[in-house]
């Protein structure tokens, strides 16, 4: 179970902060094979990307050509999503 792993399980979803607006985000998503699921809530310039050709569950963060996306100058921040244990009170 994720709690037994120090950092949890990596998914094939990413959160990114991309300057330049939605069009720029869409361009970058397509360039590296991600699906752009749009802005994250009301967080301006933050986008939700999904990559169908990467491992859905892994204890290791995802590596491959798609990770070169972080080299894009307009990509200011990127975080591969990790499943976190949350308990109802």
């Amino acid at each position: 179970p994720p709690s037994s792993c120090r950092t949890g399980l990596y998914t094939n979803h990413w959160a990114l902060r991309i300057a330049g607006g939605p069009r720029e985000a869409q361009r970058i998503a397509s360039k590296y094979g991600y699906v752009n699921l749009g802005q994250i809530g009301a967080l301006k310039d933050y986008y939700h990307f999904y990559h169908s050709k990467t491992i859905k569950r892994s204890v290791l963060s995802s590596r491959g050509t798609h990770s070169f996306i972080s080299m894009e100058p307009k990509v200011e921040w990127i975080e591969q999503q990790v499943v976190r244990i949350r308990t109802k009170r």
């Binding site: 994250i40 939700h48 949350r86 308990t87 009170r89």
Partner: protein, 806 residues
């Protein structure tokens, strides 16, 4: 369309209304304690109209008969399914009932003959389905930043695992969402985040290890049972702001609310039930004043929540006069008091943040053990200025205080951390957690306390860290405090304007009409006011004629209120401006009780434990060298003159060299763990080996701390038995060997001395005793013949010939 008073009947046709013990008192027994005064707020016309709340959880049954009327699709979303319908996923176990239950507490419709009445039964309610799937940083951030210009209050009843070993909190995107929400939400008034404190009481969890309740942006709510007792599941920590009712023991009544499949339940429990209740109460206050910012709400909660009948052994009054506990924060929320404050509230001044970076000196955290007692902890004192040198960061009046700390440690659960404010308010930032075996320590973890709310920021802050090993550990790898910084949140000016400040009963006389004896009619005095009056004006020139004080005020003997720049000696600043009397023996204090002294009047000493002023130190305490404080002796001492200098020991210990050690039976000594046999030559001892003897057995003699079979050279056998034991005493300094005390019992002398009838006299080496040439008819014979032996030098030189007879 609401007409005040239309709820006079206080009757609702909702079937469960009568059983909702936490909302009203229907039975007239004296046990009736509806301390949350929700009906009182309704009576004032506040029912949550036009306020929007959303429940971040596992979905909301939007077609539930008790929810559908108030359901708000613009306050809802399905993050797990990435669609706009937040209906929960149904399964045999009804696992996804949590969100629907929370929603009902907040805004179940009143008078619709269904189930219950929500606290804000005219509010709009939505739900975000976000727990029923992968919960990632992005899922949380998306939920917390849903439609922030439309939603006023977000209520969450979930968090990191309550297993007593998890230390976890919001990741970077979620932290971004919180900051974004309080900055831009609700047209820059700030989104309001209400969070349920932990339910890990049984696994000794501590809510300071939960980054959500520890955040200054969330209002962390705990629970109390109907009896006012601590529920078994409750966690303690210093970041809890307030509490509302919930379940308690099995025999305590539970919370009644809407349930999945359009049903009703009367068994909702835990802090899950408390957070939505708080959200509902906050909705009433927001209706009373929609311009309240996220910080105004927290100030109002601090000022109106009350300890009442809540049972906790750690209630204390902070220097601003607020009672606070690690269990319940500032106490039970009071809906009516909140709407009354909200009605006339003036927004508090802008928040300032002051980061005080302490020295980066690494300190070793030594584990506590029997011998040294709990005083082994690390104690780091930092004198904070409150960033006086930077007007945009200057903090004088505190709100939240955060300690950002990095500790390496072999077993995190063994740590306990305390923070004491300059006013003496001590918060426990972390308690020992039995099940946390992690070796990760704390990396820049933020512990938060609300307990210093309203106190002054500048002064000495004391951080204490104690390490109490719960299991045998390798003591060669102690923990280390790598660094810590203090983050002070608050305002640089008095946060409360006159309107917020004096509750009606406390206002300075407003006009002569109220007090005909007044010699200055407020409306006919146009002269200048005293410098200590605020801009509200005055009824005369003196400091006792102000309508409102600029700084502080106290009551003189004839009950006149006098405005002063600072509280006079023997007083303390109770709540913001009021100076209340200290206890009689206190010189300065932080409360009016005798155990709330900071310094004492002349002739009294302060007991560092009880904080009370006494005329002499009781047993177990000693007066420190500057004759001010009675400090605790080391725990083994019964009485002492210094911390470790015992004069009397506790039962079962014996005094050895002013230390109290475990008393062992004759012939054994205490090695710190148990009693070990002494060396065979010892009759009693203080430690191992022949050096540890205190007394010797029959055939041995005590010589210079060791037991010997016979006295060595330089010692003689002392006939007078010391307490029954034989001893060898050291010879007189002039002797090398001796047969008894003093200088006349020498049997041999040191080199350079000569033995003369038991005396050692100074002398050169006697030449003629060994050199033949001198002895026979030599030089000494001449000396003797010519009667020159009485010359001292010749006598010494020819000691032998001169002493020979004839």
């Amino acid at each position: 369309d609401y007409k005040p008073g239309s709820i006079q009947s206080m009757y609702f046709n909702d079937p469960k209304w009568q059983s909702m013990w936490y909302m009203h008192c229907s039975d007239n027994t004296n046990l009736c304690q509806s301390d949350m005064n929700i009906v009182g707020a309704w009576r004032r016309g506040y029912t949550g109209k036009n306020i929007v709340i959303t429940i971040l959880d596992d979905g909301i049954e939007r077609n539930h008969p008790d929810l559908m009327q108030n359901y708000d699709p613009d306050a809802s979303f399905d993050v797990n399914g990435n669609d706009i319908d937040p209906m929960p996923r149904y399964d045999a176990s009804n696992e996804n009932k949590h969100g629907t239950r929370c929603a009902g507490e907040v805004a179940a419709t009143a008078n619709n003959t269904h189930c219950i009445v929500g606290i804000a039964f005219n509010a709009r309610i939505g739900g975000v389905r976000m727990l029923d799937g992968d919960v990632t940083d992005m899922v949380e951030a998306k939920s917390l930043s849903l439609n922030p210009q439309h939603i006023h209050i977000y209520s969450a009843s979930w968090g990191p695992d309550d297993d007593g070993k998890t230390v976890d909190g919001p990741a970077s995107l979620t932290r971004q969402a919180f900051e974004n929400g309080v900055r831009t939400g609700r047209n820059n008034l700030g989104s309001i985040y209400v969070w349920a404190s932990g339910n890990g009481g049984r696994s000794k969890d501590h809510c300071s290890c939960d980054g959500y309740t520890n955040s200054i942006y969330t209002i962390s709510i705990s629970s109390t049972a109907e009896s006012g007792r601590k529920p078994w599941y409750l966690e303690e920590c210093a970041s809890t702001l307030a509490t509302t009712y919930s379940s308690g023991e099995s025999y305590d009544r539970k919370i009644i609310t809407t349930d999945l499949r359009q049903r009703c339940t009367d068994s909702h429990t835990g802090t899950s039930a408390s957070a939505p209740m708080a959200a509902g109460i906050i909705a009433l206050a927001l209706e009373a004043n929609r311009l309240l910012t996220w910080r105004d709400i927290q100030h109002i909660i601090v000022r109106t929540s009350r300890a009442g009948h809540l049972i906790a052994n750690d209630w204390k009054t902070n220097a601003a006069g607020y009672k606070v506990s690690h269990l319940y924060g500032f106490g039970l929320m009071d809906a009516e008091a909140m709407v009354m404050e909200a009605e006339k509230w003036t927004t508090v001044p802008p928040q300032h943040v002051c980061v005080e970076n302490t020295d980066r000196q690494i300190k070793t955290i030594r584990p506590d053990n029997i011998r040294n007692g709990p005083d082994n902890g690390v104690r780091s004192i930092y004198e904070a200025t409150g960033c006086t040198d930077n007007p945009n960061h200057h903090v004088v009046y505190l709100e939240h205080v955060v300690v950002r700390i990095t500790i390496t440690h072999p077993r995190r659960g063994d740590l306990a951390i305390y923070l004491t404010s300059p006013s003496g308010t001590r918060s426990q930032l972390l308690a020992n957690r039995l099940f946390d075996h992690s070796m990760e320590g704390f990396k820049n973890w933020e512990f938060m306390t609300t307990h210093c709310w309203g106190e002054k920021a500048a002064g000495d802050w004391i951080l204490e860290i104690y390490d109490t090993p719960s299991q045998l550990r390798n003591v060669k790898t102690p923990g280390k405090l790598k660094e810590w910084s203090l983050v002070l949140y608050g305002t640089s000016i008095q946060p409360y304007s006159p309107r917020n400040d004096f509750p009606k009963a406390e206002r300075v006389r407003l006009s002569p009409i109220e007090d005909p004896t007044e010699d200055y009619g407020a409306d006919d005095y146009a002269g200048p006011c005293n410098a200590e009056c605020s801009k509200v004006g005055c009824g005369g020139p003196g400091p006792d004629h102000c309508n409102d004080c600029l700084h502080y005020y106290y009551k003189s003997k004839n009950n006149t209120r006098i405005c002063v720049p600072n509280c006079p000696p023997g007083h303390y600043s109770a709540d913001k401006k009021r100076c209340k009397k200290c206890s009689p023996n206190c010189e300065t204090c932080f409360g009016s009780h005798s155990d709330q002294c900071n310094t004492c009047k002349p002739g009294y000493y302060i007991n560092e434990e009880s904080r009370s002023c006494i005329t002499s130190c009781p047993d177990g305490y000693y007066l420190d060298n500057n004759k001010i404080v009675c400090r605790k002796c080391s725990e083994n001492c019964k009485t002492c003159t210094e911390f470790q200098t015992c004069t009397e020991c506790r039962h079962g210990l014996s005094l050895q060299n002013s230390r109290c050690v475990i008393r062992c039976e004759e012939g054994k000594y205490y090695n710190g763990r148990d009693c070990e046999p002494c060396h065979h030559s010892c009759a009693s001892c203080a430690g191992p080996g022949a050096d540890g003897c205190l007394n010797c057995t029959e055939e041995y003699l005590m010589e210079n701390g060791r037991c010997v079979l016979a006295c060595n050279n330089g010692y003689y056998f002392d006939q007078s038995l010391e307490n029954g034991y034989k001893t060898c005493k050291r010879c007189d300094a002039s002797c090398l060997g001796c047969s008894g005390p003093g200088e006349k019992n020498c049997t041999s002398c040191p080199s350079g001395y000569l033995l003369d009838t038991g005396l050692c006299v100074v002398g050169l080496v006697c030449k003629d005793a060994t050199e033949e040439s001198w002895a026979e008819g030599g030089f000494c014979m001449l000396v003797k013949k010519n009667n020159l032996c009485q010359r001292k030098v010749l006598q010494q030189l020819c000691c032998r010939t001169c002493t020979l007879k004839g």
